[in-house]
Symmetry: C2
Subunit: 653 residues, 2 copies
């Protein structure tokens, strides 16, 4: 028998010493009952005791945990994890949005690290998966269909070969959260964001003739950047600025203005918003800081109230502004950026925005847009995703974020966009310490990181582990064709690189193709007899360009090979630029012949390899000097995206 | 009762269905005994059955595994891990060299992920650690003192609050391995390596006048590199090469030559070694390939035999040669390198050697030596460690390796060197797939990676996860002063960087200092009221240079702060170079005042931050643009080194 103290004041029975197990006789129950009551009196003084519960011992089996909770970012979630003491240490748990469907419930069972134990190891039988699926669905219904339920905790659930038994359960009830406000339609959001990011006319509130002032930098950048729309500086003290007629007040502008860019102190912004609202301007870019981030959430709320009243959508406050290169718009006080390309980048923080700008310029990264989100008092990531989804200039979206205002809206937008355009996210505040810093920075509650990890993966979002990864993924992913299968082949001139590239492939969860005999023979025809067989194909170091060419052509041509990782070794026989040019030639010929496959390159050599890498990048081939990891990491990110978005069959082809 | 089938042919009883547990009566034993015998007959047909073993059930408790084995690289090892099905999935196990001492046995219990379970979680009591320590020591004696024992497996061991019970045990016996040859003394190795790496006179066997030939490149590099010793080209077909008199045969050189550098085909090398041996030359650099790596281990064995007979120590074969900058020696066919500095780098692979060279040149990394090890038919990592330990030019050693010929010798050398000079290792072939590639490349058996991980850490070796990490660690570690405690403080101009830097600190196992109230007040005196309190110190983005200066000075001065991570945000108010110069100034003043602390910098900004990073690096301050991860990674590596080598008290100061 099992014996438990029942008390409304004891939530965690084991910790309170309120549980005794495996009692065999009435006498034991009596003795243990006394002991338990003493233990509880000691560990939880004053706890009200409702009684003692005697139950049959649960059958032996695997302990798991099933639960549900309301997450401040994502709303109602279902959780599943391994139970017992192991879960305390390993935290082997996974989350999913409620309500679940049966397929997702099954995937949850497979997603935890302990999944092999559930399937059965060392000759032991697996557990009853369908019984767990039914419980997950029941818990999902409980949290979804009963607004007063705020938490469900079935812990432990003992599951065996047949059936699952809930040994202990608790439910928490709470005041149901208010119903969310009705969201605008996708079409409305798209229209509003298009107005905001592609304005035909802009007003600069606080334009200035004084160099160094934000209102001067913004105006100068719009002009120097080559913006072809109409520009209206607004400043009561100037007749004209930088050769453009200036207006004393917004009301004086006769034209229809799409966007007002604010470059005035925080204290004046709310009145400014009233003015543009009265003029019918429906979009604003709020550069000024001085709101929630400096401890003035009241000002920020006023801002939101005015904007709502006038139907104004706005970016910020507390941002650097934004770039939209297809229209040559640099609506920012930072330096102009004009290298147009397929990547849209956003950042919540201004510092990270500057790092994006610097990296992009240094790496010659073509961008469609760079957008600062700052305090996100209005426009946030899902609004931008809706715009970028339809934006023909954008094929890849990379976002830095510290929190999400509405996790569900973001996931829904990401799920729509990501199959056609990779969505890459750097979620800051991943760790406990990081999350604390996020709170003090933006007063935002950063949710448990595992929740983000599971939900991002389930909705096709590619997560970048760090800032440099975000930038490298953004640079490489739009270049790489979508792989048609899991077979990765390494071709290397340096055996040593081959080993490290193999290590990196395993780290990234990539499948090193098992080399078919006929293909092995075909490779052997091109390489010295002592070159290594199999995968990596080691062509050895002293080989001429023709060997690189022949083997890479073979890899591109053979339909069983789905992606190539090339390890180049700088030698006198095949210098870096000769290699780079031949690789461009071979890859472009392959594309023309319909063999577009992801090709990434690691370059081991003297400094000349840097120019070779730049040449390869300029032809759409991601190539990196002095590293065997980064090329494989970007390929790994492409594969994660392809798998998560259904662009690659789940089973290896 | 527990019931087991006893058979010499059944090694893994559970898998064979040969175990029944929890039997309560004679009847059950009889029934289950029949069932087990049937199961074994089915799953292991033909297995000889010695009988059935009836035992009392083990008491409830935590299952652990204790074992010992002979590793091809490191010899006799003791293993400890969590038992039960969890170990099959999580592989929560740790290794140590046998024989163990009591302290190391205790550390093993703390090193596994399940250590908290052993200490007791959720109010449950911990297990009897001393009982496990005694078992570990017993197993250690068994494998150390009985050469015929090749494997010990106590699995499971059930451990409770008092005592531990070995439930099942197996021992494997084998022919004891031959006793190792007597090793030379440290003094001998040092003398030999000094002769090899700091020769007063070299002969180039196969010197050539023809550009592009290896024998030409080596001679040219020695001359152009500024080598001040005597150079003797050897080539029967030339009178002089590059203005230096040439000798037809080694025997014709009247001088005492320290090193012969071979640039002739593999087939001629063995005869050449005989000749130099007869001449009394005691060191050689064997550039040629064509030995074990091309499937000719026989040639390599001949080489070793000739060398042993003539007492010749040699590098290679199959290498690019080596650089030793204090003597301006470029004994290699690669391009010369002359930026002298504190880092010695070695690589097993030529490709990785070229990547080292290129990165070093690009990053302006000062090196003392770059050495190719290739097939390691003679000289290997522990020989070089012995040399670098005494080499005054070297303060940090970075090594790329695919295998170790003698793991114990390496660990002993590393343990001697690492407390005074960090030893950083990139161990290739870490993963299963990587290990396979290593075998085909060097015919070397790459051991289980977990063994390397545990033994490296226990001997003070800093492991680099990838090639770029090896290079970044090598660049930064010699610059960073040793921290005097665990308190890391982040000071940042960009709140967004602060969050990412915090994430990175947690990832690297760094301790974010809990901010004392008085110090918090002191920081607040310098920053705006809305700047974030605590750690990170967020000075906010619009601040002038004086704010960076005051806060960083405060962090350097306060003895409770042990390391600083600085997040810079590019603004007009504090441009990149202004920041870099003030930081150099503050850090150098701190050093003069005795406040030498590790300071690392993340630079978020436009491309001007690249020049700022270069300036900071040139003053010994590791600084990185567009990344919040790398500065924290190098600081983390410094901390790992300091903790593992006793340079930092184990408990947070």
């Amino acid at each position: 028998m099992a014996l438990k103290v029942v008390s409304p004041d004891v939530m965690h029975k084991t910790e309170a010493g309120a549980v005794a197990l495996g009692l065999a006789s009435e006498g034991e129950v009596v003795i243990e009952g006394r002991r338990l009551l003493q233990a509880v009196a000691q560990r939880a003084p004053g706890a009200r005791i409702a009684g003692l519960l005697v139950q049959a011992m649960a059958p032996r089996g695997q302990e798991v945990i099933i639960g549900a909770t309301i997450d401040p970012t994502f709303g109602r979630l279902v959780a599943f994890g391994m139970g017992g003491t192991a879960v305390e240490v390993g935290r082997d748990v996974t989350f999913s949005l409620a309500p679940l469907d049966r397929e997702e419930a099954r995937r949850m069972l497979d997603r935890i690290s302990g999944a092999p134990i559930l399937r059965g190891v060392r000759g032991q039988p697996g557990v009853d998966h369908e019984a767990l699926v039914e419980l997950l669905l029941a818990v999902s219904r409980l949290i979804s269909e009963h607004p007063e339920v705020s938490e469900v905790d079935l812990n432990p659930v003992v599951v065996g070969e047949r059936g699952a038994l809930v040994v202990d359960a608790r439910l928490l009830l709470a005041e149901p959260p208010p119903a969310p406000e009705p969201s605008p339609t996708q079409d409305e959001i798209l229209r509003e964001m298009t107005r905001l990011l592609r304005p035909r006319a802009v007003a600069i509130i606080g334009a200035s003739a004084e160099t160094g002032k934000i209102g001067n930098s913004v105006l100068r950048n719009l002009i120097d950047g080559g913006y072809r729309g109409r520009i209206y500086p607004v400043n009561p003290k100037a007749q004209e600025i930088l050769g453009i007629p200036c207006y004393a007040r917004v009301e004086d502008i006769a034209d229809e203005v799409d966007v007002a860019i604010f470059a005035i102190p925080a204290a004046a912004v709310i009145e400014g918003m009233e003015q543009i609202g009265r003029q019918g301007i429906r979009a604003a870019v709020l550069i000024p800081s001085g709101f929630a981030e400096v401890g003035r959430p009241d000002l920020q709320r006023q801002l939101q109230e005015v904007a709502r009243r006038h139907h104004i959508r706005f970016l910020g406050p507390n941002i650097y502004g934004y770039y939209y290169t297809p229209d040559s718009i640099c609506a920012t006080f930072c330096t102009p950026y004009d290298l147009a390309g397929p990547v849209a980048l956003t950042s919540q923080s201004g510092g990270i925005g500057m790092a994006i700008l610097g990296f992009a310029r240094s790496a010659k990264l073509g961008v469609s847009a760079i957008v600062g989100l700052g305090n996100k008092a209005d426009v946030d990531e899902d609004d931008l995703l809706t715009f970028f989804a339809e934006d023909r200039a954008t094929t890849c979206i990379a976002m830095h974020m510290e929190d999400l205002k509405d996790g569900r809206a973001f996931l829904e937008a990401a799920r729509r966009v990501s199959p056609s355009k990779p969505v890459i996210v750097l979620k800051a505040g991943r760790t406990g310490a990081g999350a604390r810093a996020a709170r003090s920075h933006t007063a935002a509650l950063a949710g448990d990181d595992k929740v983000y990890q599971d939900l991002f993966a389930a909705h096709g979002v590619v997560r970048a582990p760090g800032l440099r990864d975000l930038l490298e993924y953004a640079r490489a992913l739009p270049m790489l064709p979508t792989p048609r299968g899991e077979n990765v082949l390494i071709i290397t001139g340096a055996g040593g690189s081959g080993v490290l590239l193999s290590d990196a492939c395993v780290d990234e969860g990539l499948e090193l193709m098992a080399m078919p005999d006929d293909l092995d023979l075909a490779f052997r025809a091109h390489i010295p007899p002592f070159g290594a067989a199999g995968n990596p194909v080691d062509i050895t170091g002293g080989e001429p360009p023709s060997t690189y060419r022949a083997t890479i052509e073979l890899g591109l041509r053979d339909p069983r090979v789905h992606a190539l990782v090339i390890g180049y070794w700088h030698t006198i026989v095949t210098p870096p630029m000769v290699f780079a040019e031949l690789l461009v030639d071979v890859v472009e010929a392959g594309r023309r012949a319909g063999n577009a496959k992801p090709v990434v390159v690691s370059l081991a050599g003297d400094v000349e390899v840097e120019a070779a890498a730049a040449l390869l990048f300029s032809h759409g081939i991601p190539a990196y000097p002095y590293t065997t990891e980064i090329p494989v990491e970007v390929l790994g990110a492409k594969y994660r995206w392809a798998r998560a978005t259904g662009n690659l069959p789940a089973a290896p082809a």
